[in-house]
Each structure stands twice: as C-alpha cells, then as structure tokens.
C-alpha cells in the first residue's frame, strides 16, 4: 500500500473510532454492536481460564482427609442451624411488616429474585474497572443490578450472548442514589480511586465515620436497602457540602461469584433526573 493511502486509512480509522466514542458519550453506549461482537469473541478466553482455575481448585478439594471433612461438616451444620434461626426471625419480621403495611395501606417494596452468575474476568486496573460475567442460558439486561451477600457491586452495562460486562461501583463514572442509614439523609454515591465519594451531603447534616450507606432506590436502577459501604472520612472543607469518603462493603479484588437482581424495570419515561452516571 502506498504511504498516501496509509494516511487516508489512518484518518478513516481514527474518525470512525472518534464517532464510536462520541456516540457512547451521548448515552447510546448500550447499543454498541462492535463492543458486543468483540466481547463475544474475547470472553471465551477468560471463561476457559476461569473453568481451568475452578477445575484446579476442585481437584485440590478432592484430596482431603476424613478428619478435615468431619470438621467441615460439623462447622457447616452449625452454620446451617444459625441461618435457619435467622431465617425464622426474618420471616417473623416480614410477617409483621406485611401486617403493619396492610394496616397503613402501604405497599412495601418487593425484593427481587437473586440469580447466581460466575465472574470470569475482573479488570482492576487503575481507572477502568469492570468485570465480565458468564450468564449461562438465561440472558441479562442492561442496567440490571449486581450484588453479593456483602453489598452492591455495580450494574450490567453490556450484554452479548451468554456474556455481560458490569460497571463496578468503584468506576469513576459510576453513581447511585444513596441514603445514610442512621439519619435517612439522601445523597449520591460516586466511584473513586479506592474509596467511594458521597456527594450532596450538606454541612449541617449529621454524618459520622462508621455510618452505613445504603441504596436509596430513587435512581431507577438499584432497589432500596442494599448496603453500599461504610463512612470512613468526613471533611467539611467544602462551601455547601461535606466531603464524605465511603469504604465499599464489597472487596472487589475477590469476586468469583455475584448475583444478578431480577426485578421489573422501571419505564424510562417514569425516571426523573436519571442519576445513573455515564459510562
């Protein structure tokens, strides 16, 4: 190829990629065919590695002594009893809540069903934070919340066949409406480098280190009451708002299984002031 042709090719490729970026910035990132296609081509490799690592771990677990197995069995039986008691207590609480709700003619939020999915790749590099899931037979949808028993992980941003890409809460572009559990003060959680930032907390609001931060359920993506993290630092150097740092409840470096929260999507027309943040 002649050098002048190569320059034209360079210009063409760069303009095409700039357009691709511009389209995503305008908020149409979920419809990116090229990204979906590439995800489908690339994701089988992490899946293969994940399967291999799982097989190695299973192989290691296969070689355990009878004493170890008995100890594990005893521990698990004890844990099962604890969880059954906790379930019993929670059922009572739920019944009481339903009775009170009926008396007040109030419709409580119905929690969604949780579907376990496998994490096949976790990118934890400095400023691009994402993970790739293998969904299996059942598909996922864009903006579906992803959680673990510890708390909120993020949301699905791209789905391609049996694979989905998740934006972690620690991503600089991620955001969620939040509430401080102790005071019910509403705020906005944004991703940060290591800690999350809690924005729009007025100087007169009471926030203390150790306060738990939950999802507020007002952004149209995350349901109410999922643990986001704990306040670790409170600064008051701002003019109107406090600078609050939140340590995420989830340790993002050790995610091998997460849960997709299955719940009905709120129609776009009903969401006012979309607080989901950009991609």
């Amino acid at each position: 190829m002649k050098e002048s042709h190569a320059v034209w090719l360079l210009a063409l490729v760069l303009v095409a990629q700039l357009l691709l970026l511009a389209v995503q910035v305008r908020g149409e990132g979920g419809k990116n065919l090229l990204e979906r296609g590439m995800l489908r081509v690339v994701a089988p490799m992490p899946r293969l590695v994940s399967w291999f690592s799982g097989s190695v771990e299973e192989l290691g677990e296969g070689f355990r002594s009878r004493d170890q197995l008995e100890l594990e069995s005893r521990t698990l039986r004890g844990r099962l009893e604890e969880l059954e008691l906790e379930l019993f207590r929670l059922r009572n609480v739920e019944e009481e809540r339903d009775r009170l709700a009926a008396a007040l003619d109030y419709t409580p939020q119905v929690p969604g069903r949780l579907r376990p999915v496998e994490v096949i790749y976790l990118d934890h590099s400095s400023w691009l934070r994402t993970l790739i899931l293998h969904l299996g037979e059942q598909p996922a949808r864009v903006d579906q919340p992803v959680v673990t028993p510890e708390g909120l992980v993020g949301r699905v941003v791209e789905v391609s066949g049996p694979y989905a890409k998740v934006q972690l809460l620690t991503d600089r572009a991620a955001a969620a409406s939040a509430v401080i559990a102790r005071t019910r003060r509403q705020a906005l959680v944004r991703g940060g480098s290591d800690l999350l930032e809690l924005d729009f907390v007025p100087l007169q609001a009471s926030v203390l280190p150790g306060d738990r931060v939950l999802t507020a359920g007002t952004d149209g993506i995350y349901p109410r009451g999922i643990l986001i993290g704990t306040v670790v630092e409170v600064g008051d150097s701002g003019e109107l708002f406090r600078e609050v740092a939140v340590a995420p409840a989830v340790d993002f470096a050790f995610l091998d299984r997460v849960y997709l929260l299955e719940r009905g999507r709120i129609p776009d027309g009903l969401i006012e002031g979309d607080g989901r943040g950009g991609r």
Binding site: L10, Q17, Q24, V49, K165, R172
Partner: protein, 171 residues
C-alpha cells in the same frame, strides 16, 4: 501479507491468553503490563504503515473489550501508536533488542498521553499515576525486547533447520 496477518492474529490471541492468565494470577498485572500494546508495536516494527495502524486498532479494541468505560479508547490510542511506530521503523534502524525496548517504552508513554487526552475530551479525567506509567513503560519495553529476542532466536533455528534440510537433499 497473509503471513504477517496470521502472525498478528496469533500474537493477539497469545497476548489475550497471557493477559487473562496473568490477571488471574496477579490481579494488578494490567496496571503495569499491556501485552496488547507490545504485540501492536512488535507488529508495527515490520515497517508497514497500514499493517501498523490496523494491528494497533485491533489490539486496542480487544483491550477495550476487557476493560470498562468507553469502548474504543485503547483502539484510538493504539491506532496512532501503531502508525507512529511503523513510520519510525521506516526511517530508523530498530533491529536490536535495545532499540525494541526503547521503542516499546516510548510507545507506552505515547499511548498513556493519548489516553489522558481522550479522557479529558470524553470522560471525567483521572490522570494515571506517573510512577505506574514509568513502571508500565519499562515492563512493556522489557517484555517487548524479550519477545523480540525469542522471535529472532526462533527465526535463526528455523533457518538453520531449513538449510540442513536443503543440504540433505543435495546429498
């Protein structure tokens, strides 16, 4: 041309496998080693501008598929890097491991600069830690030089085997 394309595809597939396995073993690996960029630069050192820029675009887009945020940030940056390295290789002798180390390290710095500019243009900027950028440049350079040496050694062994075969045929 077809051989070069097949070599690029194989290189990218191996980079993908190494990246995924490496990330599984050392989660922080992507912070200081960009194997896709190394492959793009080694491909561009061949000296063809078109091959350099297309290889860079392919490497960057694969990298983008594994990372979050805007799709195409690495694709855009690596396209420019691939073209720039190919143009440099047309003018300079970049034939030794030392030259490859410097070329890959400089390419890493160029890629990071473009990524910062793109982040300023399109997303909330979070400048990368300069220490990590230098570490990444050195690590990429070292891996690039090692791969170059391994490739040269493999080429020499293949040539020797070919000559031996020819000698046998003459006899």
């Amino acid at each position: 041309m077809a051989v070069a394309a097949a070599r690029l595809v194989l290189g990218l597939a191996l980079a993908l496998a190494a990246h995924v396995v490496g990330s599984w073993l050392v989660p922080e690996l992507p912070r200081f080693l960009d194997l896709f960029l190394v492959v793009a630069v080694l491909n561009a050192l061949g000296g063809s501008s078109a091959s350099g820029l297309l290889g860079g675009a392919a490497a960057g887009l694969i990298h983008d598929a594994l990372s979050g945020r805007l799709y195409g940030l690495h694709g855009f940056a690596d396209t420019i890097v691939g073209y720039a390295v190919a143009r440099a290789a047309q003018r300079l002798d970049l034939g030794g491991p030392g030259a490859v180390l410097v070329a890959v390290a400089l390419a890493t710095l160029l890629e990071e600069s473009i990524l910062v500019l793109l982040a300023l243009l399109f997303t909330a900027p979070e400048p990368p830690d300069p220490v990590w950028v230098v570490v990444e440049a050195l690590a990429n350079g070292a891996v690039g030089a090692l791969l170059y040496l391994a490739g040269s050694r493999f080429g020499m062994l293949r040539e020797r085997a070919r000559r031996r075969r020819l000698t046998k045929i003459r006899l």
